[in-house]
């Protein structure tokens, strides 16, 4: 099966006043039709920057290089106008900050119908009818009433439902969800994730889920990309990554989350230190300083690149793979 989105060597650089900082370097992945791919990482890992750069939604100070191939086109080389034909129609996006992601001065109806009017040439009335049915699909009962409301009158959960309805209004092939439930309470998070998952399956739509929560990954993803300090450190299918991870960062992360059924006397694993602040110029292993195998690993200064464990499982750690770095 051919991927619908193919990202190769994506590097995003932010240039400020006289200085440059690299947010992500060398990120490559494919998204296949109908699958859920999770990008997981902590803040500063570059996961949101990656997501935003796919549709060129970063600020002007950011520069993305590499290729993002979608249906034979490189999205990074398209003009704004060409991108607008794809944004919201074939690839759409929902965001983390639900309180501010909807325009406060426009009604829900106005915002929801916009993509359908612009992309599909629907009339105002047609778009409204469809918008109401979309809202109903996202589990909003009083859809007619919501259409006339302004965002501030809705709860966080409701706003995210509206965002989902809006993102799906033109039947996209790929939905990018950037921490879609981070700002929500757990019971609402469960509702939203169940909704996203059922819509994704029903529409056979691919979902790129950006999250910091390994729990959400375990419950929703088919494949996982673990990001650390702007690099992909490990990727593979969700079973493998969560049960037999081969990168010390993935391993550490899994042991650092307290579960609600764990034995309480078992101590949480401490990942010492913090994510390096500027990692653009780092060569070799970026996790080395915090790595539990620090004392044993000799090849940390070499640039390992992603090494194959199996056909579908890649890791950046040569030490745990047992091979040598040049492999």
């Amino acid at each position: 099966m051919d991927p619908i989105l193919s990202v190769r060597n994506l590097q995003v650089t932010f240039s400020g006043l006289g200085n440059q900082s690299i947010a992500t370097s060398d990120i490559s992945f494919d998204v296949f039709p109908g699958e859920v791919l999770a990008l997981v990482g902590e803040s500063g890992s570059g996961k949101s920057v990656t997501a935003l750069s796919l549709l060129s939604l970063l600020t002007r100070q950011a520069k993305a290089t590499g290729t993002v191939r979608y249906r034979g086109q490189d999205l990074l080389s398209l003009s704004e106008k060409q991108l607008d034909a794809i944004r919201g129609k074939q690839i759409s996006m929902i965001f983390q900050d639900i309180m501010n992601s909807l325009n406060p001065v426009l009604t829900i109806g106005k915002q929801l119908t916009e993509p359908m009017i612009c992309h599909n040439g629907l009339s105002q009335a047609e778009a409204r009818t469809r918008a109401v049915s979309l809202l109903e699909q996202t589990g909003i009962r009083d859809a007619q009433g919501i259409m006339k409301k302004y965002p501030h009158m809705l709860s966080g959960g409701m706003r995210q439902r509206v965002m989902i309805a809006m993102a799906l209004s033109c039947d996209p092939e790929l939905l990018i969800a950037d921490e879609p439930t981070t700002a929500l309470d757990v019971t609402i998070q469960l509702q939203i994730m169940q909704l996203l998952s059922s819509l994704q399956k029903a529409r056979h739509m691919a979902l790129l889920l950006i999250t910091h929560d390994l729990g959400l990954v375990a419950e929703n993803a088919d494949r996982v990309l673990v990001l650390y300090a702007g690099q992909c450190v490990e990727c593979g299918d969700v079973d493998t990554i969560l049960t037999h991870p081969l990168h010390p960062y993935t391993r550490s992360l899994l042991r650092a989350v307290p579960g609600i059924h764990d034995a309480r006397d078992q101590r949480l694993y401490n990942i010492p230190g913090t994510v390096p602040e500027s990692y653009g110029a780092m060569t070799g292993c970026r996790f080395h300083d915090r790595c539990p195998y620090k004392a044993h690993c000799r090849d940390y200064e070499k640039n390992a690149g992603l090494l194959p464990v199996t056909d579908t499982h890649l890791t950046r750690c040569a030490y745990l793979l047992g091979g040598d770095c040049d492999a």
Partner: protein, 323 residues
């Protein structure tokens, strides 16, 4: 039985809302924490857990009820009478960055409370600052720096050091790890557990992440719309919950255990709404609700030793199984 260090009785706090209505933030809440115990309050945003912390700290005025520290009701004291008690209970906030004055050096930040309460002076004071920094895992040399030079996790360590400077008996921790990344969360949670053992501290730990609260606390109370729904031993509360809300919370918490993927989960309907508070506040979202739940009051009842629940269905279910 020894007197609990903190006991909260029938605490109620309301805020004025639109059109002369009242918003009941904390509704007749009672609990007590023994010396050396870690007690957790969990619940979703707006459930009143942080308001309770602010009421205990005296940052807001309760409408009614008692907050007793070692048997003495703090709410009956005037501000001047309360002041000598202040060093005994300290608070750590969620937003570490904004609870540290950016224009002051770390040394001064940690020293201020001790100077204010005439605890130490001179070299002893500086030595104490160094000791506190080491205690929370920071290097004493860092005392000369400003808060912005620290990472998020380190800032929270600074806040903890400052809170510990007055040798408190009770530490009120209001979502101390919610703003932190997973790997940093684990560091702070371990630190809190170690400090509690080392210094025989009593904790009131407020959080929304069930795993984190459970990791630190011995007992947990689950709150919903200003009321305690269920409380009990943290070892068993989430594994055998009696209240549908606790069950739903536990079910909704994402688990990184791949074996649990696709498990049947109880999802609550709708969202938290301000409904008239007769009967059970969970009524319109509860999967187990029956008509009587709408009107019947739901007081906490001890359903098993140390396990309290405010669900009338739970009682019925238990009676059925006992019969």
């Amino acid at each position: 039985m020894p007197e609990p260090l903190l006991s909260v009785r029938h605490l109620t706090k309301t805020y004025p809302a639109r059109r002369g209505q009242k918003l009941i933030a904390v509704n007749d809440v009672s609990f007590s924490i023994d010396r050396g115990e870690a007690f957790g309050l969990v619940g979703e945003s707006g459930c009143g857990k942080s308001t309770i912390a602010r009421l205990i700290m005296g940052l807001e005025k309760a409408d009614s009820g008692e907050i007793c520290l070692d048997g003495e009701n703090l709410l009956s004291l005037r501000e001047t009478q309360r002041r000598p008690h202040r060093p005994r209970y300290q608070m750590v906030f969620q937003d570490a960055a904004s609870s540290l004055n950016p224009r002051r050096r770390v040394r001064d930040l940690i020293r201020d409370p001790m100077v204010e309460h005439h605890i130490l002076s001179g070299d002893a004071l500086n030595a104490r600052v160094d000791a506190l920094l080491s205690m929370v895992g920071l290097h004493p040399d860092m005392a000369q720096r400003y808060p912005h030079e620290f990472s998020g996790g380190q800032k929270q360590r600074l806040c903890i050091a400052r809170a510990l400077s007055l040798n408190p008996e009770l530490l009120v921790l209001d979502e101390p790890v919610s703003a932190l990344d997973v790997s940093i969360q684990a560091q702070i949670l371990n630190l809190l557990r170690d400090l509690q053992k080392q210094l025989h501290l009593t904790y009131l730990f407020i959080g929304h992440g069930l795993g984190a609260v459970r990791y630190v606390c011995d007992r947990i109370a689950v709150m919903y719309m200003g009321r305690i729904m269920e409380s009990g031993d943290s070892e068993t509360l989430f594994s055998s919950p009696m209240h549908p809300y606790t069950l739903a919370l536990a079910d909704a918490s994402p688990s990184a255990d791949i074996r649990l993927r696709g498990r049947a989960r109880i999802a609550l309907r709708g969202e938290m709404e301000d409904v008239p508070q007769t009967g059970c506040p969970l009524y319109h979202r509860c999967p187990a609700a029956e008509e009587a739940c709408q009107t019947r009051s739901t007081a906490l009842e001890e359903i098993a030793p140390g396990h309290w629940t405010a669900c009338r269905r739970a009682r019925l279910l238990r009676e059925e199984t006992n019969a």
